[in-house]
């Protein structure tokens, strides 16, 4: 496969597709062979915009030859879609969260191993240059061994007037499966799989059964003896722009990052911004993390060496999400 372009089918043409598709079209090793989108208007616009063949359903793509697929649909569809692609021997990139049931996610991972295909979940923040730097600081214990961590994600995207979408009902809805999975993934990215998880609070602000903010504690003691607090709120009216903040405490230092800067206080005081890191990418749109993420996926595909570390963590995220979802307070 190393000398041929990777034929890629995109499934789902919503908002996140607009971030991925230009990267795919621009990529020197990728050929986008089709976009599957059931909504007529979106299908029409995407077809006109990207000059790529569009399809109403997967059934109409049976004749297409492709190597990899990008599943960019709502999470309740991820399991069945990913399963059928893996069983057809296709490499799969699936947007976060992997599925809505950790057992299903584990099954997908097992299948990917059996069929020897690359399987990757789109947790984009772990590919962000500054959060990668935080990971390096933590792993190399540059400012000492971490003891506690707080990761928060706040935004002001859901109000009482927000439209009803798949984010507004059923399992997979709410802040937990949107912001929550990102924050849990970052905690796992930094400190490994949690040994236990305790949900501290869950608030349903607008609709019953839809969690709009929550907090939880993750015990990472198996790997590095860190207690991680996570706080998510997508209805915080004081927030101008959604963002993630990390605060890690070691014995002598406090390390803070907001995605633009890292500030260290304590015995040593330093502060540096993303502008001082290596941020060069082959193609930039909306942040280096999108290109870094895609490069990592396709590198594994081209090299023929599937790397499941990302998918293993994504399964762990789903296990943690399920525990928080099911815990009765």
């Amino acid at each position: 496969m190393s000398n041929e372009s990777i034929k890629c089918l995109v499934v789902g043409g919503g908002r996140i597709a607009l971030s991925h598709i230009p990267h795919l079209i621009d990529h020197i090793s990728v050929d986008v062979v089709g976009i599957v989108e059931p909504n007529f208007l979106l299908r029409f616009v995407l077809g006109r915009l990207f000059k790529v063949k569009v399809y109403r359903s997967l059934d109409s793509t049976r004749h297409i030859d492709f190597d990899a697929t990008f599943i960019l649909t709502p999470p309740m569809t991820h399991f069945s879609l990913a399963k059928q692609f893996i069983e057809r021997g296709k490499h799969v990139f699936v947007e976060k969260p992997m599925t809505l049931d950790a057992l299903n996610s584990a099954e997908l991972l097992r299948l990917a191993r059996d069929y020897k295909v690359q399987f990757f979940c789109g947790y984009v923040y772990r590919h962000h240059p500054l959060f990668k730097e935080v990971k390096r600081i933590v792993s190399e214990q540059v400012f000492g061994s971490p003891t506690t961590c707080e990761i928060s994600m706040r935004g002001n995207v859901v109000t009482s007037n927000s439209p009803v979408t798949w984010r507004s009902f059923g399992k997979g809805s709410g802040c937990l499966f949107d912001y929550g999975c990102h924050v849990i993934d970052l905690s796992i990215f930094l400190f490994g799989e949690p040994e236990s998880v305790t949900c501290l609070s869950k608030d349903e602000l607008y609709q019953p059964g839809v969690i709009d903010r929550f907090s939880a504690k993750l015990d990472h003691s198996t790997y590095c003896d860190v207690q991680s607090s996570i706080i998510c709120d997508w209805s915080d009216e004081h927030v101008r722009k959604a963002g993630i903040a990390i605060e890690i405490k070691t014995q002598d230092h406090c390390i803070r990052s907001d995605g633009q800067t890292i500030t260290v206080s304590g015995d040593t005081c330093v502060s540096y911004s993303i502008k001082e890191l290596d941020t060069d990418v082959a193609f930039y749109l909306r942040g280096e993390e999108f290109q870094n993420q895609i490069e990592e996926f396709f590198l594994s595909v081209v090299n023929g060496k599937a790397d499941y570390s990302n998918a293993e963590d994504a399964v762990s995220v789903d296990e943690t999400l399920s525990k928080i979802y099911e815990q009765v307070l």
């Binding site: 908002r15 060069d280 193609f283």
Partner: protein, 278 residues
């Protein structure tokens, strides 16, 4: 070398969460923005490059008699589009924009778009974004990097060409393209014969967002030394001497775009650039 005053500080973008919020508080009203614009005018700046949004447009109108800047609006304002998509969903946002244009205009433009003639609909889009700006002072119209790079990545050079001709012919202005992928865009625009336009790109000592590398950007500036190149983010983490050193690496540069909120910084940055060009 032309000096452009930019507006990132008014919008609180490209700053850390705390700093961005501080800037937004500082520039809560149009009068706050107007105050800084008056300061920029007083130190000698004559060109103002900004993202189209209601507050900045109001500020421009507040100062237009005393400080008749050459205006360089750029579009689209990503936050407004993002809010629209969040509020209505992607399909709903498309329908909303369609309704905004009015049935007759849209029917004509839509019919042309169906025949792959996008300029009518593009003209409507640009016109709707420029609403309220004193057009007599507008010298150029820019396409921000979120749109330029989206189109570039999607390999739709024809849409960049459509923007070029709509701005040049329908608005009688110079097209400006903002990008984070300078070499690639320059090859696509200037390399393919669209010569009478400017490209704005990052250039700084830290190689921050000078994709795919600072060397490649430097080579592209040299390759297109006859064209209009405008560097931004030049002051990113740099001292005065370092800015001059960085500028010396790209002697053919046509302009520099910088933004600042304090009158002292605006003055010192302008003086530095002014002395460099002289």
């Amino acid at each position: 070398m032309k000096i452009y005053f930019g507006d990132n500080q008014f919008l609180g973008v490209n700053h850390s969460a705390g700093k961005g919020d501080d800037y937004l508080s500082k520039y809560e009203t149009a009068e706050d923005v107007a105050g800084t614009l008056r300061g920029a005018w007083e130190v000698g700046i004559r060109d103002f490059a900004f993202t189209v949004n209601a507050k900045t447009i109001k500020a421009i109108n507040l100062v237009k008699t005393d400080c008749p800047f050459n205006l360089h609006p750029s579009l689209p304002y990503a936050h407004r589009i993002n809010d629209l998509v969040l509020d209505k969903g992607l399909a709903g946002a498309i329908l909303f924009k369609i309704r905004e244009f009015g049935f007759f205009n849209l029917f004509n433009a839509g019919l042309a778009a169906l025949l792959n003639k996008n300029r009518k609909i593009l003209k409507l889009l640009v016109l709707s974004e420029l609403d309220g700006i004193p057009m007599e002072n507008v010298r150029s119209i820019g396409l921000l990097n979120i749109a330029t790079d989206f189109i570039l990545g999607s390999k739709r050079r024809d849409l960049l060409e459509d923007f070029y001709f709509v701005v040049a012919k329908d608005f009688n202005c110079k097209p400006i393209f903002y990008t984070m992928n300078f070499g690639k865009l320059a090859d696509s625009i200037w390399g393919e014969g669209l010569l009478d336009c400017a490209i704005v790109f990052n250039y700084n000592k830290n190689s921050f967002r000078t994709n795919p590398s600072l060397n490649c950007v430097r080579e592209a500036v040299e390759r297109y030394r006859e064209r209009e190149t405008i560097a931004m983010s030049l002051f990113s983490g740099s001292q005065a001497q370092e800015v001059c050193d960085v500028l010396a690496e790209i002697p053919s540069i046509s302009g520099v775009l910088f933004g600042s909120s304090s009158r002292e910084n605006i003055k010192s940055n302008y003086m530095l650039l002014d002395s460099y060009r002289n």
